[in-house]
């Protein structure tokens, strides 16, 4: 797409975060007044284990330009090992998305509660990466 169009394009991103690590990191980014782009909407889950890959599919098919998921670092899960299982499911769905060149629109991160700075920076880089990708081709399609 042309440079001009890219500049106008404001990506819509939806993210899933676990309550204990990344949601807390987002809160910390807030208390530290770390500004980041307004493109992402967060859906709070209790644990990354609650991320059903169907949500990712649904978001992308609904036209989300980007989808992200973020939870506690592996091994630091509030629910002991929830994120180990989550990681396998995420890897599977990413592999499927990769087939259709959609994997770039789905990012996963591990951001712990103390990484407020990382959260804000992640939101910045994520927004830029998705902006670079351009709009999701599913946007506006009748499916």
């Amino acid at each position: 797409m042309g440079e001009e169009a890219k500049e106008e394009f404001e990506p819509k991103i939806v993210g899933f975060t676990c309550n204990w690590c990344t949601y807390a990191a987002a809160d910390l980014a807030g208390t530290s007044r770390k500004k980041y782009p307004p493109n992402s909407r967060i859906i709070r889950l209790m644990c990354s284990a609650r991320l059903d890959p169907m949500f990712v599919l649904k978001a992308l098919l609904n036209g989300a330009d980007g989808v992200f998921f973020s939870g506690c670092h592996p091994g630091e899960c509030h629910y002991i090992k929830g994120n180990f299982y989550a990681r396998r499911r995420i890897a599977a769905i990413r592999t499927i998305l990769k087939q259709f060149g959609l994997d770039d629109r789905f990012k996963s991160y591990w951001i712990s509660a103390s990484e407020g700075e990382k959260f804000a920076n992640t939101m910045k880089s994520l927004t830029e990466e998705v902006r670079e990708l351009g709009p999701n081709p599913m946007r506006g399609k009748i499916i």
């Binding site: 890959p53 091994g75 396998r88 599977a92 592999t95 499927i96 087939q99 259709f100 994997d103 009748i142």
Partner: protein, 354 residues
């Protein structure tokens, strides 16, 4: 592994023996009806006569595992089928839709199969037995094996409790892969000796051909391509119903959230301005491919079942293989291997997460 040499003519006796010696309580076997081949459930050993000739018939009707899905009674059933079917049965055991103690899995060598329509239609040319040379010859005449078979790397029997391997001409080897399988063969009073049925060179050759074939298939590598591929789908869900490893009692896509009607449908239309009907072709297939991503054995039953002739082999097995690769998992290989989604390593998959 321990095994014994047989001739094709010995098969009938072998199968009858399983019932007569009480190794199993019943058998599921290929069964010839006219030119066609499907399955039958046998309690009476005398009914086996017609089966022996159909044992290696290159025809695929349904996946035998789909026939025993949910077999939760104690009576022991022996299943004689091709590798993809037995592999599906193993996955069902892991998913507790079959009880390992109630089955005896007997895998036969396969050279590739025709859809049962093609098989019936060309029975005269195909016959009871084929080998790779014959398949090539028939291909010249426009009679081709199923696409899923052509990309299958696991045609030679190497899973289950017992394998029946074809040798040159009339030769066969029957061998036990598991304790259960060896026990069954011992009960049949076969004299067992060490057999090497690795057949590595042969497997390599098949794999190479399969890979070459896979590479020649058009790739679904974009969302646009996928949309086009599925444009005729009517979401009849036959692919799901015939899938041996789709095991839900009530599919998500038969429930309101997966298959919205009425107000829910209208809600979606309001949110997006308009929605296509039938809804969720993409969502349905993408979800389904994820659901079977670790368990799909690539049998191609989905494609056979599609009333709209969508070549689903190019979607399901092709994609699921890639998922299986990242977990280094081969479905149906071993009942004791955990399903990938129920296991984890503390450090893994970094390259799959970005």
């Amino acid at each position: 592994m321990k095994g014994a040499e047989l001739k094709h003519g010995d098969l009938e006796g072998l199968l009858k023996g399983l019932l007569e010696k009480g190794v199993v309580d019943c058998l599921i076997l290929p069964h010839r009806t006219g030119k066609s081949v499907s399955y039958m459930l046998v309690k009476d050993a005398d009914k086996i006569e017609s089966s022996a000739s159909a044992l290696f018939a290159p025809s695929f009707s349904v996946n035998a595992a789909n026939l025993v899905k949910g077999w939760t009674i104690k009576e022991k059933v022996g299943i004689v089928a091709k590798s993809c079917e037995i592999r599906a049965a193993v996955e069902l055991i892991k998913l507790k839709q079959l009880d390992n103690e109630s089955v005896l899995l007997i895998t036969t060598d396969c050279s590739g199969a025709y859809t049962n329509q093609v098989y019936t239609e060309h029975y005269a040319e195909i016959g009871d037995l084929v080998d790779s040379a014959k398949i090539k010859e028939l291909e010249g005449k426009g009679i081709t094996i199923r696409e899923s078979c052509s990309i299958c790397e696991n045609r030679l029997a190497d899973v289950g409790d017992i394998i029946i391997a074809r040798g040159a001409g009339d030769d066969l080897v029957v061998a036990g892969l598991t304790e259960k399988g060896e026990g069954a063969l011992t009960a049949l009073e076969l004299s067992l000796e060490d057999k090497d049925l690795e057949r590595a060179a042969e497997k390599e050759k098949i794999a190479a051909e399969a890979k070459a074939k896979l590479a020649s298939l058009p790739e679904l590598n974009s969302l646009d391509a996928l949309e086009e591929f599925l444009q005729d789908c009517i979401v009849c869900k036959n692919c799901r119903d015939m899938c041996p490893v789709c095991y839900c009692k009530e599919c998500f896509f038969d429930q309101p959230l997966g298959d919205p009607i009425g107000g829910d449908l209208l809600n979606l239309a309001e949110l997006r301005g308009a929605i296509g009907l039938p809804t969720g072709q993409l969502f349905y297939h993408l979800t389904r491919v994820y659901h079977v991503s670790t368990t799909c054995v690539g049998c191609g039953a989905c494609e056979d079942a599609c009333p709209k002739d969508i070549p689903l082999t190019r979607f399901y097995p092709v994609i699921t293989q890639k998922v299986q690769e990242i977990f280094k998992y081969e479905p149906g290989k071993d009942v004791d291997e955990p399903l990938p989604f129920t296991a984890y390593e503390e450090e893994e998959l970094e390259e799959c997460l970005r």
